[in-house]
């Protein structure tokens, strides 16, 4: 069974039909980029995958756990699914180290010492070991986003969901975050990225999913999708963004 199984998922915001029967399977170790126009439902799909949003029909199973927005289930899922946001969402009153240690201590019940070692390890991975005792607002946007990645990794998720995590960054800071993702990909981390970085999607991603009007309009191996788009919608989208 695939790591992520999305089966005929429908999602409504009131009367607005946002996801219209999404089918998607993602294997462990895959790097999947979700692309598409604004409003096509990319974020919504991602947020349904860890229970941040409820869906109305169909089913999602991640790491053999049924996804629902039920409070208990969301907490259980947090051990399998990590999430990084466009706006970082670091806790500003805690240091970088405390940001990373909080959930391992409270949820995984690690001791302070174990949690600290874990934080050091994850920070090292994103190249910020020396920032462990700084506060987030002393860091650049790129550094904050790398801390957010380290914080998510500290829960050892099976899959990491990233929603436009470079979109809020100054152009010169995008590269350092993408390099971290690239390294994670090469280590076999399962990544699901909503992204506008088409070069990254093509060169690092295994698969591209093009969403349009709440549906998976086209999907396939990354290079193929970019070189030979079959639908006119994807063709025009690629022409517009590349």
């Amino acid at each position: 069974m695939a790591l992520v199984n999305i089966d005929q998922v429908h999602k409504y915001y009131g009367d607005l039909h946002v996801l219209k029967g999404i089918d998607l399977k993602i294997d462990a170790g895959e790097v999947v980029s979700i692309i598409g126009r604004s409003g096509s439902g990319k974020s919504t799909l991602l947020r349904c995958m860890n229970g941040l949003e409820a869906y109305q029909h169909g089913g999602i199973v991640v790491d053999n756990k049924e996804v629902s927005s039920d409070e208990k289930q969301v907490r259980l899922l947090a051990r399998s699914v990590g999430m990084v946001f466009q706006s970082f969402n670091l806790f500003p009153h805690l240091t970088v180290g405390e940001n990373i240690m909080l959930a391992p201590k409270l949820v995984l019940k690690l001791s302070s010492k174990e949690a600290r070692a874990l934080a050091e390890d994850k920070l090292d991975k994103v190249g910020l070991a020396e920032k462990i005792d700084e506060y987030p607002d002393c860091l650049s946007g790129g550094q904050q986003q790398r801390v957010a990645i380290a914080r998510a990794l500290a829960m050892s998720p099976k899959v990491l969901l990233c929603d436009e995590i470079t979109s809020a960054l100054d152009p010169e800071l995008v590269g350092e975050v993408l390099r971290v993702l690239e390294q994670l990909a090469s280590e076999g981390m399962t990544l699901v990225l909503v992204t506008h970085e088409m070069n990254f999607a093509r060169d690092v991603g295994d698969r591209v999913v093009f969403m349009h009007m709440g549906k998976v309009w086209e999907s396939g191996p990354a290079k193929e999708v970019f070189e030979n788009p079959t639908t006119p919608e994807l063709k025009s989208f690629i022409n517009a963004v590349l």
């Binding site: 860890n50 699914v81 706006s87 806790f91 500003p92 009153h93 909080l102 409270l106």
Partner: protein
């Protein structure tokens, strides 16, 4: 008629001011505790609890404090409870304070970005952990200044307890005036004592506001 020296007057007023302080502290501490409970109920996500809190806040914000005081004092005696002026004043002011603090804190918590809740949820923190480790530590910084600022309203609100016969600063002033017929002198002294109580509080509030504004 008894002769009162200025010192006698001042001394009696200061003695009575102790009760003003005691009543203020009681109301403020009681109001904080009740306010925290109401705030937790409001954030719990349970609809009936949220309505209850909404109703409570609207009720106490939408009626004069004096009426609340009368209702507690006379209402409870009508129901057969023998309630002292002190207890009635303490209860009424606690309700009043808790309603306003709940509303002040609602504003402070709502200014925190939704992403703070979402990030906590994605990390597997439960509601209590999110509240105590992520939301409240940030909200407290924002809430400190307006909360201390509101304590000035509590101190001034205690003056109404004089109307149901509780002898605090204002009531003592009224009684001394009945004995000396020097209203200007006496009420000037009363006002000065209130000012001496309130001014440090509003000063502290302003300082706190400067200190925490915009910083983490």
């Amino acid at each position: 008629m008894i002769e009162f020296t200025n010192w006698d007057i001042l001394r009696n007023l200061l003695l009575a001011a102790r009760w003003t302080i005691a009543l203020s502290l009681t109301a403020f501490i009681g109001g904080t505790i009740v306010g925290l409970l109401l705030t937790a109920m409001r954030l719990s996500g349970r609809r009936p609890l949220q309505w209850l809190v909404r109703g409570y806040v609207e009720l106490f914000q939408g009626t004069p404090l004096l009426m609340q005081l009368f209702l507690v004092f006379f209402g409870l005696s009508l129901l057969g409870f023998d309630i002292s002026a002190w207890a009635a004043a303490a209860f009424a002011l606690t309700f009043f304070t808790s309603a306003f603090l709940t509303e002040i804190w609602r504003g402070c918590i709502d200014t925190l970005p939704r992403g703070q809740w979402e990030a906590s949820r994605c990390l597997g923190l439960n509601f209590k952990q999110t509240l105590s480790r992520v939301i409240l530590p940030q909200a407290v910084r924002v809430a400190l200044a307006p909360t201390v600022g509101f304590s000035v309203q509590v101190v001034k609100g205690t003056a109404l307890a004089s109307i149901i016969g509780f002898v605090e600063l204002t009531k003592a002033g009224t009684m001394l005036n009945n004995a000396t017929f020097e209203p200007f002198k006496i009420f000037a002294m009363v006002a000065l004592i209130y000012f001496a109580l309130c001014y440090p509080l509003s000063l502290a509030s302003q300082r706190l506001e400067k200190k925490f504004n915009g910083s983490r």
